[in-house]
């Protein structure tokens, strides 16, 4: 056990830190759930890509710089620490990227990854369906194979970023009459294809954060399938574990608001300390965020040693989603009457950061597998309790 960074790691950190200091927009970008914000975020991603900081862990030939997970943790610490923009293409880059890296053909890699890294192609996920939320295997959208292409029909929902994105990826039932996890295929669908209709869903904050996607005889070439026909569940799940969870929510993503919460508390100590429990909650938030970071470094070390990581990702999911709620709830308690103000309000300064985060935190225990499902997984797969 050696908990210090090598010279190279320190240099990498400093490089990232300096680049961000020079390049992070001084003014916060508008939310990427608006057309304007989406385009500005796309430009930011291009800038990151040009500095080979978009996908630091990817091989150089796909636009990355071949870093390992520790470097990635360092990158994230600097990225969030600098208050840099949210990653608009993360569902493609972090979720689909790993899948293509593992299951894609050489052609698919060359075709999709570089444009994903540069965000020339923006990606939306298309997992959930109206009757396949927590119970993902309940998918009923169909893909019929006709020679060199599939014809897909059906409906997806809760598709993040789908309104402005160029592509979607998801599972479709390609074997008629198949049940549950069988007979599904993992397909990539251009969102400008004929027969695709996208209908926005307004999120809690009133912005079009999600969409429903309707597929009406949409033609998708076989080259857009990742993995074999009928193997979609396997493909989707193989990278669904620890790494995917970690990539989706790096520790720095929580350490940064925890750090800001501590500052908020220190700046408003007299008000906050009226309720004795606030100080304890602030300290807990910071401490929990740090524990999550320690846990990530620990797990990455074990992964690097070849250890298989199991249901830890379920525990991580529960932990960070509850931490996120506590951080932003505590901020709301400190802010008091002004915490409810929107960004446009004259009295709102830092408030909008906290309110946005508070709203987003509400979804944490729900998306990426509800926390109830995660607890079931832990109980059944880690503790060996019976399924039914």
């Amino acid at each position: 056990m050696e908990l210090t960074f090598s010279k190279e790691q320190q240099n990498f950190r400093l490089e990232v830190r300096e680049w961000l200091a020079a390049n992070v927009p001084k003014q916060k970008l508008p939310t990427y759930d608006t057309k304007e914000g989406f385009e500005l975020h796309r430009q930011w991603e291009k800038k990151l890509f040009d500095a080979t900081l978009s996908m630091v862990m990817w091989p150089t030939k796909y636009g990355g710089r071949g870093c390992d997970l520790i470097d990635w943790l360092i990158f994230e610490e600097e990225y969030y620490g600098a208050g840099a923009p949210g990653r608009v293409n993360q569902n493609g880059q972090l979720l689909l990227g790993s899948t293509i890296m593992e299951f894609g053909t050489a052609e698919q890699k060359a075709r999709f990854l570089p444009k994903m890294a540069s965000s020339e192609d923006m990606w939306a996920q298309a997992w959930s369906e109206p009757n396949a939320g927590s119970d993902m295997a309940n998918i009923s959208s169909k893909a019929e194979l006709h020679g060199d292409h599939y014809i897909i029909n059906g409906q997806k929902t809760w598709s993040t970023r789908a309104i402005y994105a160029d592509w979607a990826f998801g599972l479709f039932r390609s074997e008629a009459g198949s049940k549950r996890h069988h007979g599904l295929s993992f397909l990539l669908v251009p969102l400008d294809a004929e027969g695709v209709t996208i209908r926005p869903i307004k999120a809690l904050d009133g912005e079009d954060a999600f969409a429903e996607i309707f597929f009406d005889n949409v033609k998708v070439p076989v080259e857009n399938r990742i993995g074999d026909d009928g193997q979609g569940w396997h493909v989707a799940m193989a990278t669904a574990g620890f790494e995917r969870g970690l990539l989706l929510r790096s520790p720095a993503r929580f350490q940064q608001p925890a750090r800001r919460l501590v500052k908020l508390y220190r700046d408003n100590k007299a008000v906050a300390d009226r309720d004795a429990s606030i100080g304890a909650a602030v300290a807990k938030c910071w401490s929990d965020a740090e524990a999550y970071a320690l846990s990530a470094y620990n797990t990455v070390g074990r992964v690097n040693n070849g250890e298989k990581i199991g249901a830890e990702s379920s525990l991580n999911k529960i932990f960070w989603s509850e931490l996120d709620l506590l951080i932003f709830q505590t901020a709301m308690d400190i802010l008091g009457a002004t915490g409810q103000l929107l960004r446009s309000a004259e009295l709102a300064k830092e408030q909008a950061y906290w309110l946005d985060g508070f709203l987003f935190a509400q979804a944490g225990p729900i998306y990426a597998g509800t926390n109830e499902i995660q607890r079931n997984i832990v109980a059944e797969r880690v503790l060996g309790l019976p399924k039914k």
Partner: protein, 354 residues
């Protein structure tokens, strides 16, 4: 010792609930949330037409003379239907404030009459918050300046709207100048009025939060009976059951705390401050857990603008820090318990024996 409501009080509550269930339906509410001004006027006119604005006005002034105890039922209905601030602020809190002004205040009787007739809209600016609700709508503003109560015309103030997460709220900063001419009460008299007004405002919010909690619970129960996962209604899963049972528990325990506070306020009990803040803590808690568990039960649907839940949930988050931040109410109770030498014997719940 009789900790119950009269038949009349209970029937009145029921009638108000029936009225609001049509006049303040989720559809109407959604209109108010989506547009700027007009729909509030409609609703308020309907409400005034029912005589609801006259509830708190003393009988001598032509009102119904309804006290805090009865209002603790009313405010729950207002919360359940997420009725905008104006009604409770004018008909309950504002009317109480004006009634408490010295009779020498020339406008007092006129204002009480106008409230009775539903012709006066009030906004109250208390120093517990930099934001005044419904200032833009107000025909008159009652503003705090230290211990002084000032009656200010909208012509003499600058109102800067501040948009908030509950778009049915019209919050604003109000810039104004206190003067001898605007001052209607001061010194100890003014101090008592503001103390009582804060308590009444806080209690009004407590009741509304409890109503909101009940509404969120009802919506969640309904949703959990419709929505299926893994082939069963999600309401049949133990995790969902327990989450909703815990919300029911928070609501039930908050009720008597709310009612005791109302009784204390109505009877000018020396511990009214503490009792009101206790009520706020329990009602805040109930509403917070209701929001937390309701969005969870609603799953991804709960995160959308489309489901009604969002309006009640956001309103509960907003009210949680209205008429006193949640920390200020915690502080009043904590100070009493931790930093005094009062003996908190079981016999002292109602008695303030020496």
């Amino acid at each position: 010792m009789d900790f119950t409501f009269t038949e009349d009080q209970l029937l009145f509550r029921e009638a108000i609930g029936r009225f609001l269930s049509t006049e303040a339906s989720p559809e109407n509410l959604r209109d108010i949330w989506s547009n700027e001004q007009a729909p509030i006027d409609n609703l308020l006119e309907q409400i005034c037409a029912q005589g609801l604005s006259a509830l708190s006005i003393p009988e001598a002034n032509g009102g119904l003379g309804m006290g805090d105890i009865a209002w603790s039922l009313m405010t729950q209905e207002l919360g359940y239907y997420a009725v905008v601030d104006q009604l409770a602020d004018a008909a309950y809190v504002g009317a109480g404030l004006i009634s408490a002004l010295p009779n020498t205040v020339a406008l007092k009787a006129e204002y009480l009459d106008k409230i009775c007739e539903g012709k006066l809209r009030l906004a109250i600016g208390h120093e517990c918050s930099p934001l005044v609700a419904d200032a833009q709508l107000a025909g008159v503003l009652l503003m705090q300046h230290n211990n002084e109560v000032h009656i200010v015309s909208p012509d003499n103030v600058r109102i800067t709207p501040n948009a908030s997460i509950d778009t049915s709220r019209r919050l604003a900063q109000v810039d104004w100048q206190p003067s001898d001419k605007t001052c209607a009460a001061s010194g100890e008299e003014g101090q008592i009025i503001w103390q009582e007004t804060l308590n009444r405002g806080a209690l009004s919010v407590a009741g509304q939060l409890l109503g909101l909690a009940q509404r969120m619970l009802d919506l969640s129960v309904e949703y959990s009976l419709q929505r299926k996962q893994f082939g069963k209604e999600i309401g049949s899963f133990q995790a969902v059951k327990h989450q909703l049972a815990d919300v029911a528990g928070k609501i039930e325990i908050a009720k008597p705390v709310l009612y005791r506070a109302a009784c204390s306020l109505e009877n000018k009990h020396p511990l009214s401050d503490i009792h009101v803040s206790q009520a706020r803590n329990f009602c805040n808690d109930a509403a917070a857990l209701a929001a937390r568990h309701s969005i969870q039960v609603h799953g991804a649907m709960g995160y959308t603008w489309e489901v009604d839940l969002q309006m009640y949930m956001k309103r509960s988050w907003a009210l949680n820090n209205t008429w006193g931040d949640s920390t200020c109410h915690q502080a009043r109770v904590q100070n009493y318990v931790l930093n005094t030498d009062v003996d908190l014997a079981p016999s002292k719940t109602f008695e303030v024996m020496s």
